[in-house]
């Protein structure tokens, strides 16, 4: 097992190096540079920038360096834990990303928990009550969940929250709590703000997982050992939860590896609508402003999360299913 993990980790590092190279290449593809965007902004404000100033700025940011030099500078600095300074705000990239990433991670974990807590029981229910009215209702809601884009759902919930709960929405805290230290009141305020985001993020994923859970459980329920379990007089609840669900849950465990990173990056649009301070909108802004160090670092970090998520899912699967361990 340790051998396996070690091999996977080495493979991951090789992949991350390749990803950083390709990712950085894509991100610096757009013609022009951050400096052009910045100069345009300065000029539109009425200020003029002299030729010498431009030269100095170009030198400072290494704008005219060839691609490989830029890439090497970035990698070399990153390996020292210094992710560079964002062009946009002159803040350290590491600091900015961690602030945002923690919000993203928190939101996604909540959404994940929500997804599992809802989709497993509902999936089990609709499999054991096949072709009943609740089953049809669940199926219909699943399809709607797949078809309604998340950002639209966010918009609709926003309207409801503002109109009927008279609630200030958007962001993760009301303005009066913005600069205060964490307290019970602030926490409650936060929960009031993020429930929409959690529900929206979880809805699409819940629809998909419920469907998978239902289909798998139906397959398993046809197996002979289930018949045996019933024949020997076991309680139906034990048959379902101990014998059937345990064998039907594999794909859910496997999907865990992709679901968490998918939730983290999938919130880009939702976060845009709800103006949440998460990593998605930040990545988007960085791309638009051609802030390539910031965008590149986020891309590599998200890839890293994806790889780690997949590894964790495989380990979890080995833990749930003894048969996987043998291979």
């Amino acid at each position: 097992m340790l051998n396996y993990i070690a091999r996977r980790l080495i493979n991951m590092i090789v992949l991350l190096v390749a990803i950083s190279f390709i990712g950085f290449f894509i991100i610096q593809l757009p013609p022009g540079s951050f400096l052009d965007v910045e100069l345009q902004r300065l000029r539109s404000l009425g200020g003029d920038v002299s030729r010498d100033q431009i030269k100095a700025l170009e030198l400072r940011y290494g704008i005219n360096d060839p691609f490989l030099v830029k890439y090497w500078k970035w990698v070399e600095r990153s390996s020292r834990g210094d992710f560079g300074t964002s062009y946009m705000t002159d803040q350290s990239v590491g600091e900015r990303i961690w602030g945002r990433l923690s919000v993203s991670l928190g939101l996604s974990l909540f959404a994940l928990l929500f997804t599992w807590l809802i989709s497993i029981p509902i999936g089990v229910y609709s499999a054991t009550h096949r072709y009943t009215i609740p089953d049809y209702v669940v199926t219909l809601i699943q399809f709607i969940g797949l078809a309604v884009p998340g950002f639209l759902l966010a918009l609709i919930l926003l309207i409801f929250a503002t109109r009927y709960f008279n609630q200030q929405v958007g962001g993760i805290n009301s303005s009066e709590f913005m600069d205060q230290p964490m307290s019970v009141a602030k926490f409650i305020d936060m929960v009031n703000h993020i429930w929409i985001a959690v529900v929206v993020l979880a809805f699409g994923a819940t629809a998909g997982l419920t469907r998978v859970m239902r289909a798998n459980l139906l397959d398993v329920l046809n197996m002979q050992y289930i018949q045996t379990a019933r024949a020997k007089g076991l309680d139906e609840a034990v048959v379902i939860w101990k014998h059937a669900v345990r064998n039907a849950i594999h794909p859910l465990v496997m999907s865990l590896g992709t679901l968490l990173p998918a939730l983290i990056v999938g919130e880009t649009l939702v976060a845009q609508v709800l103006s949440l301070p998460t990593i998605g909108p930040m990545y988007l802004d960085a791309l638009r402003a051609e802030d390539m160090y910031l965008a590149g670092t986020i891309l590599v970090m998200l890839s890293g999360l994806l790889l780690i998520g997949n590894l964790l899912a495989d380990l979890l699967l080995a833990w749930v299913d003894p048969r996987v361990r043998l291979e």
Binding site: L15, L16, A18, I19, I22, G23, I26, I27, L29, P30, P31, R130, Y131, Y136, T139, F143, I144, L146, A147, V148, P149, F151, L152, L155, L158, I159, T162, R163, A215, L218, D219, N222, P261, A262, V265, G266, T268, L269, Q272, V273, Y283, L284, L287, R288, A295, I298, L299, L302, S303, L305, L306, L307
Partner: protein, 370 residues
């Protein structure tokens, strides 16, 4: 309800006797017809694509025609006046308190709706120049059956024009990715060895990128001022490039199992060439699977285009797609005061839902012996 093949009750109903006697495709059609929702989805899509073909003819106005007299104009009222189907002129006043345009229907000024009128010039099916439009009202007035947006552009005309991009972009993107995925997947599964190993490494690398950020960064790299055709083509390619890996993996799995089947061994023993085995045995067997995966990938691709356009990285105005229209509907103000701005979202949901239902039905149907 659309259900998985395994879930259908194993009724020994009407047709079972002749299962061994009719061709497989007829069995598939028969099974497909059984799921009413999927058939419904198919009909909805057929209607949509036919409307798309005639969209320029059906649209009364050019999609970017501005008319400040109709800014945020409500959907036109229709009535029969003097035996003619008519709409009415609108009186526009400004509500100075809430800074909104108010519209009053002027019932003294009916505007008969004329059919087969001359309007802006377009090319029917992209080939035949024409000026003929299905309906319109007299010059100087506008009929907005589904309301107008903030510049007084006719929402129906924009929906129709937008369908030309929204209904084709995702579709073409998926077709390209299916072609790439099938070729690469078949090669990988059939030849195995070092070719397989190399292809699998490439796929693994591509799949290690989180797809939405990769998608966004590729789209951000597109030239901003390229003509809409070029942008359309490039976004299609992005969808294809990101989408093919999953399909290639699945096709590889299928091909590997068919490769070890007895009939393949028989073909090899009889001296069949690689080309013959691949095109005669492997591809036809994987085809149904490929079609299912493709159909289910289209709604996701349509969603991607919408998301990109919504973020301002996809199709850009003055061109119009449903995603561009959804972008106009992203404020609470627009939705609560002018609910017709949500129509593109509705159309989008119906399209995506229909594709999912269709794909679900095909998936059940391709295994008609189950």
């Amino acid at each position: 309800m659309a259900v998985d093949a395994t879930q259908l009750p194993h009724t020994t109903a009407t047709h079972v006797e002749d299962v061994g006697q009719i061709p497989q495709w007829q069995l598939m059609v028969r099974r497909f017809r059984k799921s009413k929702l999927s058939v419904g989805g198919m009909y909805v899509l057929i209607v949509m694509y036919v409307i798309m073909l005639f969209s320029d003819f059906l649209a009364p106005y050019e999609h970017n025609r501005l008319d400040s007299n109709y800014a945020w104009g409500p959907p036109s009222q229709i009535a029969i006046v003097d035996g003619k189907l008519s709409t009415f002129a609108l009186k526009q006043t400004l509500d100075t308190e809430r800074l909104q345009w108010l519209y009053v229907v002027d019932t003294d000024r009916p505007l008969p709706i004329q059919f087969f009128v001359q309007g802006y010039e377009y090319r029917f099916l992209g080939i035949f120049p024409s000026k003929l439009h299905f309906y319109g009202v007299e010059e100087g007035y506008q009929v907005n059956l589904l309301g107008a947006d903030k510049d007084g552009k006719d929402v129906l005309s924009r929906l129709l024009k937008g369908s030309q991009i929204s209904l084709t972009l995702g579709f073409v993107g998926v077709v390209i990715s299916v072609i790439i995925g099938s070729i690469v997947g078949t090669a990988s599964g059939y030849f195995g060895g070092s070719i397989d190993n190399m292809i699998q490494r490439v796929i693994e690398l591509l799949r290690s990128f989180p797809d939405i950020p990769l998608f966004l960064s590729l789209a951000a790299a597109l030239p901003q001022n390229a003509p809409v055709e070029i942008r359309f083509f490039m976004i299609t390619m992005i969808i294809a490039v990101i989408g093919w890996t999953g399909l290639a993996r699945e096709v590889r799995g299928k091909v590997m199992s068919y490769r070890n089947a007895d009939y393949t061994a028989a073909s090899v023993a009889a001296g069949g060439s690689h080309w013959h085995i691949i095109t005669r045995h492997l591809i036809p067997n994987s085809l149904s699977h490929i079609i299912v995966v493709g159909t289910l990938a289209i709604p996701a691709a349509i969603g991607s285009e919408t998301a990109l356009s919504f973020l301002g990285l996809g199709i850009l105005p003055p061109a119009v797609s449903w995603g561009v229209m959804v972008r106009d509907a992203q404020t609470i103000e627009a939705i609560t005061t002018y609910p017709w701005m949500l129509l593109p979202v509705l159309v989008l949901i119906i399209t995506v839902l229909s594709f999912y239902l269709l794909g679900d039905g095909i998936r059940d149907a391709v295994d008609p012996y189950a």
